[in-house]
Structure formats: C-alpha cells, structure tokens
C-alpha cells in the first residue's frame, strides 16, 4: 500500500485556499492587510488609549469574579486586622477580600485603576495631537466628535468604577454627585430619586452602577471605539507634509506585517508599564478610607484627575445663590451655586469642543477636505486657543487639589482659592498671547533659514573689521543672496549635519553609540597643533 505523504509546506496555502473558496475573504482581506499607515511617533498616542482599554477589559473581567454589588450590611472578618469586626456593606467587604484574600487580587485591582487613569490621560494627550495638528478638519469631524464622546463616556466609566468599592472616599464622591444632580432646576429631584430609587444612598445604587460599569458603559465604549477605528480605516490616516506626500496619497507602511508587529510590540509595552505601575505604586487604598458612613469624610477627598477640574470649579465659584420668591407662592425657588460650576460648565465643555471643527471652518471659510496635517506654529490662532483651553483646565485641576498644595507648600488655602479665581481669568488670555507670539517667532525663524541659509558656526571677518557668520543657503540664491525655496509646511533643516555637510547627529539615547565625526578644517589654514612640551623653554628670569 502506498503511503500518502503530506507536503507540510503546502498546508498553509491549501488551508487558506479552502477558506477562500468558502468565504471569499481574500479580496477584502487583501485590502485591509495592504492598508498603508503613515508613521510618526505622535500617531501612536491614540493606541495607548486603545491598548489600555484592552487591559481594562482583561483586569475588569477578573475583578467581576469576586466583587459583590450589594449594600447589605455585613461584619468584616477578613485578613485586614484593623477593620475586623467593623460593620460595612457587602460591596466594600468584597472589595477588601479582593484586595487581601484573593490571590493576585490587589495587583489586578491596582492595574485596573492605573489602566483607567492611563486610558483617560492617553485620550487627552491624543486629543491634543489631533487638535494642534488640525487632524479634525473635514472629512474627519465625525471622528473628532466620537473622540470627545469617548472622553465623556470614559469619564462616566471612571466615576461609576470609583464608586463601586463603597469606601469612604467613593461614598463622599457619590454624595457630591447626588448633590450635583439635585441642583439641576426643576428636574433635579426627579433625576436623583430615580437614579438612587429614593433618598441617597438607598439600597439599589451599587447594583445599578455595577451593571452600568461592567456592561452598558464598556459596551458603548467598545461600539464607539470600533466606529472610531473603522473611520480611520475608511477615511485613511492623516499624514505630515513631506517629500512625495500630497493631499491625495498616503505614504507609510503596510498594515501587515510591519505595522502590526510594531503595534503588537507597543501593546506589550503599554501592558508592561501598567503592570509595573500596578505592582509598584499603591492606588486607591480603600482599606485606609474605611467603609462609607454619612458622617465620615477625610481631608483631601478628591476625585480622580479627570474629574478634578469639576472639583476645582466648585471650589473657585463664588457662593451665588439665586432665589426666586415666585410672588409669594409656596416657598419660592432656589438655584444653588453648585449648579453653575458642575452642570453648566461641563455642559459647555461637552458641546463646545464637539462644535469646534465647524466653528473653525466657518470662521476660516475653509470647507475643503484635508489629509495633510498642519504644524502647530503655522496656525497660531488655533494653537493659541488650544493653549488657552489647556491653561483654563490646568487652573481648574490645580484648584481641585488646592488643599493638598496649600498644606504641602505651606500656602494659605484662602490664598490658593483667590489665586485660582484670578488665575482662571488671567492665565488663559496670557497663554493665548504667549503661544501666539511663540508660533510667530518659530515661523519667522523657519523663513529666515529659507531666505538666508543654515548657520554654519563659521565667523568671517570682513575687510572693514566687522564680524559676520557664514550662512549655508539651502538652495540657489537670487541676486540679493536670498534663497528661492518656499516653506513646505514641514521641518526646515537648521543644522549643517541635517544637510549632510557634517556627519550625522550623534546617535544614541543616553550615551553615544558612534564616534563623533571630526570637525572640518578650514581649507588654506594648516591645522594648529600644540608644540611638543620638550621643546618649550621655561622662562625663569
């Protein structure tokens, strides 16, 4: 009987051929695999958010195996001695068990929290990149809006997750949230009672927040992230201007294999950094906060950093209470001061960024599609507006932690509050002005190099005794000695080694991995060398 031989090298092709026969996947897959992505370090910032979201899903799933979303009172009897015998909610007790009695539970909880902070900060940093390079312009306004929504849904995910352990800190936060909801005119009390099923805290809030935190919000995030990435695929990634790059092409690397390999490596790095932080830095030590009781509140009770700007706006806002007596009918009506900094302000901060692409298009009358990015210096007004927004947010966020700053740096808390109030009015316009001037200065320097050339470091003395530096023009010059190159929207070489006139810049991150090239010697001058010391005579008299 003849033994049948299996040709191993032919197996992948046969399997793939068989799959294609059945699913007709080759043509669409080829499109995807051959997709070209432009390469720049700043294009990887959004990936940090994507990868930390994956870490969030993995660690969060682990946590659900042990967490119990219940406000039933139990008596703690776990291994953390300083709380043994204390009455607490089952939610808090299970969070403590998760931290102290489940193997690997604490690092999982800490990784989950650090991954959440990474997710939110990566979203913000990615958003800065999109904003300052003008990547939100037509046709990508939709993706900009989805990105803004991702931030706010991530904000909700963070807040619900922060509340779940039911420790004293999260309970304080939840109480503030209920106060914020109550402050909304007319519908406030209805909103609050429907969310808490009656008075705060009620008995159902943990169950509701739990299902929101593990199903509804991650589902919404997942859906929006899919659309976000799908749109990047469909509309193609933006690219920086450069040789061979136009509005109508994409220059970069294929999705498979190089881009995927790099992304896989980057995912491992993100995972590694989050795991390191989860193992090295303690985050949210719920066992120190204790169980939530209405009468328990700690100094320095802050929300996570991405909510801190709302805490800051509340601390800075004056106590302006608006009273209507309704012509003597009933008890009148009061709008509490907390309504303005915690409902109206975030409302504006949600809507304004989403509308920004359209506002800018309307003001600049630029309704064309753009696939090439802009350098921040080339659009000083937008860059300055962005700096203004960052300054506004930074003052609010710092004010959210102003008691810690006041305590640690021995500043009066009242002075911090007033500094925040004045800073909130002064810092944004100042940031606008300074950024605008810096942008103009950078533009001017680019133009100067294009007109006069690169500084060579060679100083020439003119016959009349003046000194001047020799400039190397980048291109043939006209009769005035001015370069003929136009600005191309990309980096202008400003050093001789960029032009190849010197050796390349010395490579290496912390120490040089190559020898520095020898300095060139001016022709016509013999190199000066030190005379041997033996021939030198010492003058003794």
């Amino acid at each position: 009987m003849k033994r049948r031989k299996v040709d191993v090298s032919a197996v992948p092709a046969k399997v793939a051929g068989g799959l294609d026969d059945r699913f007709q996947a080759a043509t669409p897959l080829r499109n995807i695999l051959n997709k070209v992505f432009p390469d720049h370090w700043s294009f990887l910032l959004g990936e940090i958010a994507l990868f930390s979201f994956i870490v969030l899903l993995l660690t969060g799933t682990f946590l659900t195996f042990f967490y119990e979303p219940s406000l039933t009172t139990v008596t703690y009897d776990g291994s953390y001695a300083p709380l043994r015998g204390t009455h607490m909610s089952a939610a808090y007790a299970s969070s403590l068990d998760l931290s102290f009695d489940v193997r690997g539970g604490l690092i999982m909880r800490q990784m989950h929290h650090w991954a959440a902070l990474t997710f939110m900060s990566a979203i913000v940093v990615h958003m800065f990149r999109i904003f300052f390079t003008g990547a939100f312009r037509k046709p990508r306004e939709t993706n900009w809006i989805i990105g803004s929504l991702l931030f706010w849904i991530g904000f909700l995910a963070g807040f619900t997750g922060y509340s779940l352990p039911d420790d004293a800190l999260s309970g304080t936060g939840l109480r503030i949230a209920s106060a914020i909801m109550l402050s909304i005119p007319v519908i406030g009390s209805w909103v609050t009672t429907s969310i808490f099923d009656g008075e705060f805290p009620g008995h159902v809030i943990m169950g509701r927040f739990y299902i929101a935190h593990v199903l509804l919000i991650p589902g919404a995030l997942l859906a929006l992230i899919s659309v976000h990435l799908g749109l990047v695929f469909k509309q193609k990634h933006t690219q920086w201007p450069g040789p061979g790059r136009t509005e109508h092409n994409v220059v970069g690397e294929r999705f498979v294999p190089r881009y995927t390999i790099k992304q896989g490596g980057f995912f491992m790095i993100v995972f590694g950094v989050i795991a390191l932080m989860g193992g090295l830095f303690q985050i949210n030590p719920i066992w120190l906060f204790g169980p939530y009781e209405a009468y328990t509140v700690s100094a320095a009770s802050q929300p996570d950093w991405y909510v801190m700007f709302l805490d800051g706006s509340t601390r800075l806002f004056p106590a302006w209470e608006i009273r209507f007596d309704l012509w003597g009918w009933g008890d009148g009506y009061t709008i509490p001061p907390i309504f303005w900094p915690t409902v109206v302000l975030p409302g504006i901060l949600t809507m304004l960024p989403m509308a920004y692409p359209f506002i800018e298009a309307r003001l600049t009358k630029d309704h064309r599609a753009h696939n090439l990015l802009q350098r921040p210096r080339d659009v000083p007004a937008r860059t300055a507006l962005g700096a203004m927004a960052i300054a506004f947010w930074l003052v609010l966020t710092l004010s959210g932690g102003n008691d810690v700053i006041a305590d640690q740096f021995h500043i009066s808390l009242n002075a911090m509050t007033w500094a925040g109030r004045i800073g909130l009015l002064i810092a944004p316009p100042l940031a606008y002005y300074v950024t605008y001037r810096i942008c103009l200065g950078l533009q001017q320097h680019d133009r100067e190099v294009l007109a006069h050339g690169v500084e060579t470091g060679i100083i020439r003395r003119l016959p009349d005794g003046r000194f001047m530096e020799v400039h190397q023009p980048l291109a043939p010059v006209d009769e005035h000695g001015h370069g003929s190159l136009d600005y191309a929207g990309w980096v202008v070489p400003k050093k001789m080694n960029r032009l190849g006139a010197l050796g390349p810049a010395i490579r290496g991150f912390f120490f040089p991995i190559e020898k520095p090239s020898e300095a060139p010697v001016s022709p016509g001058h013999p190199p000066v060398s030190a005379a041997p010391s033996a021939e030198r005579e010492e003058i003794t008299k």
């Binding site: 390469d39 720049h40 370090w41 990887l44 910032l45 940090i48 001695a81 300083p82 043994r84 015998g85 204390t86 931290s99 102290f100 604490l106 650090w114 902070l117 900060s121 940093v125 004293a168 690397e253 790099k262 490596g265 980057f266 790095i269 993100v270 950094v273 932080m277 193992g279 090295l280 830095f281 303690q282 985050i283 949210n284 030590p285 120190l288 906060f289 204790g290 009781e293 009468y295 328990t296 509140v297 700690s298 100094a299 320095a300 009770s301 802050q302 996570d304 950093w305 801190m308 966020t397 932690g401 008691d403 810690v404 006041a406 305590d407 500043i411 009066s412 808390l413 009242n414 991150f509």
Partner: protein, 280 residues
C-alpha cells in the same frame, strides 16, 4: 396690745427707750456692736475660708520652682507674669494644665519662633526634665487636664480595639488629619499637622487639650479608653502597616495618583512611542 396700756415690763421698757439717751453712750454702743459683728464675721471666715494661707506667692514644689525659673526666662514675654497672659501676644495659661504644656513644649511648638497662623512643629527647645518642670509649674499655678500615667495604648490582646480606634479616627480625626494621618489644610494658613512624629503622650495630650486649632476631645466626648484605641490605631495600624500595594505616593489620594500617571505612565509611554517610531 396698744401703746396706751399703762404698767407692766414692756411699758416700762418702752418708756425708758423713748427717753433720749446721752450722745456718748449712743456712739459707744454702736462702736461696740460693730466691733463684735466684725470680729464674729472675720472669725467665721477664717474658720471656713478655703485659702487659709492664701498668698500672692503660692508654695511651689521644687520641680515647679525650677519650672517657674524656666518660665520666667523663656515664656514670660508672651504669657506674662504668673502666666496670666499678655494682651495680643499670648493667652493666659491658668487652667490649661500640664497636658497642654507637655504637648506644646515637647513638640517644639512653644516657645514660638514668631506670631503666625499656627505654631509649627520643630525640634524641642527643652529636654524632658525641663518640660516636666514647666508642666508642673503651670499645673500648680492653675490646675487643668493632665495626661494619665502608664501605657496609653489599648490593652494587648483586645483584637478589635484597633478596629474600634480606626472607626473613631475616621469619625473624629480624618476630616482634618486625612485618612492616612498626613494632615490637611485649614483656612487662612492654618493646618492639621502630620501625625508621623507624634508620640503616644503627644496624641493623648492633643485630644485632651485641643492645641492650636484642634477642638478639645474631653473625657466626656472620647473616654480615656477610646483615646487609647485611637492612639493604638494611629501608631500600630496607620504608621506601622507597610503599604500593601507598593509605594503609597505619600497617601495623598487622587492628587498624587494623577501626577504619577502623567509623570511616570504617560512619559514612559511617549518615550516608547518615540522609540518605536524612531526604529522605522
């Protein structure tokens, strides 16, 4: 009975009184009666009055006399002669008790370097003996709360004492000193200090006397047992327990956590992005 009734002792007496006595006799009688009344009152007073040997300079024990010498040298400029206080500079110390003196002096808060929102903790100027002498002087001068002798921790073997102390700490102390005992800001430059360096006696004295801006937790608010449980929690759980989750980031809560994610996490990942992009 009417005044017209003749005869009888009463009538005779009335008749005699109605006659004018000589002026000298009248004066003399007044002086005698007054002297008798005064002697009687003074005698009764000397028998029943508390300060039989009341004196401007009370009899101080040796330790208190040493303390008075130290007081007259270092404290008198603000707290005045006999610790009666100086308007606008320092309060009267009558009745603050030895506990307050021991707290303020052993933590270096007194003597103050300058008048400011709150006296900060600094190296103590007096050693233990001198502190005790000062405390003894103020105690003998005006009385007041004293730190009990002996162990100021909850009894050994009471497993739930620390848990009860923790609960009391979170109710009474953490609103100013924060959940980790690291302290926090109060208004106008005042603050609740870090508890890191506080000893058992200092913690007890602080609760008993309410130094600086701290409220007094008298024995009717926190019993001595409860005070000892709080001390046990602070010294044995808050300070001794190593942070199980790694470096505690100063136990400031989300403020330093937010700082860490940007300074460590995002910086590391941006460098990783630069590195990966640089490799292509």
């Amino acid at each position: 009975m009417t005044s017209d009734t003749p005869g009888g002792l009463l009538a005779r007496l009335r008749r005699r009184r109605s006659q004018p006595r000589s002026r000298v006799r009248r004066r003399l009688g007044t002086v005698v009666r007054l002297t008798i009344a005064l002697t009687l009152a003074g005698g009764v007073y000397t028998v029943f009055a508390p300060g039989l040997s009341a004196d401007d300079t009370p009899q101080l024990s040796t330790a208190a006399q040493e303390g008075k010498a130290l007081f007259d040298e270092s404290c008198i400029s603000c707290h005045g002669r006999n610790a009666q206080g100086v308007e606008g500079r320092g309060p009267s110390l009558i009745g603050v008790g030895a506990a307050a003196v021991e707290f303020q002096v052993s933590t270096g808060r007194m003597p103050m370097a300058r008048q400011e929102a709150q006296a900060p903790r600094k190296p103590a100027m007096f050693n233990d003996d001198q502190t005790r002498q000062l405390a003894q002087y103020i105690q003998e001068l005006g009385g007041g709360p004293q730190i009990p002798d002996g162990d100021l921790r909850a009894p050994e073997g009471d497993d739930e004492a620390i848990a009860r102390g923790g609960n009391l700490f979170r109710i009474n102390c953490s609103s100013c000193h924060a959940f980790g005992g690291g302290g926090g800001a109060l208004s106008s430059g005042k603050y609740a200090p870090d508890l890191k360096e506080a000893t058992d006696r200092q913690l007890y004295a602080a609760m008993l006397t309410g130094p600086q801006n701290m409220p007094v937790f008298g024995d009717n608010q926190l019993t001595p047992e409860q005070k000892k449980e709080i001390i046990s929690y602070v010294q044995e759980a808050l300070k001794q327990d190593k942070d199980p989750g790694g470096w505690g980031l100063g136990r400031f809560g989300p403020v330093t956590e937010g700082l860490a994610i940007f300074l460590v996490g995002i910086v590391a990942l941006v460098f990783a992005a630069l590195w990966i992009a640089g490799k292509s």
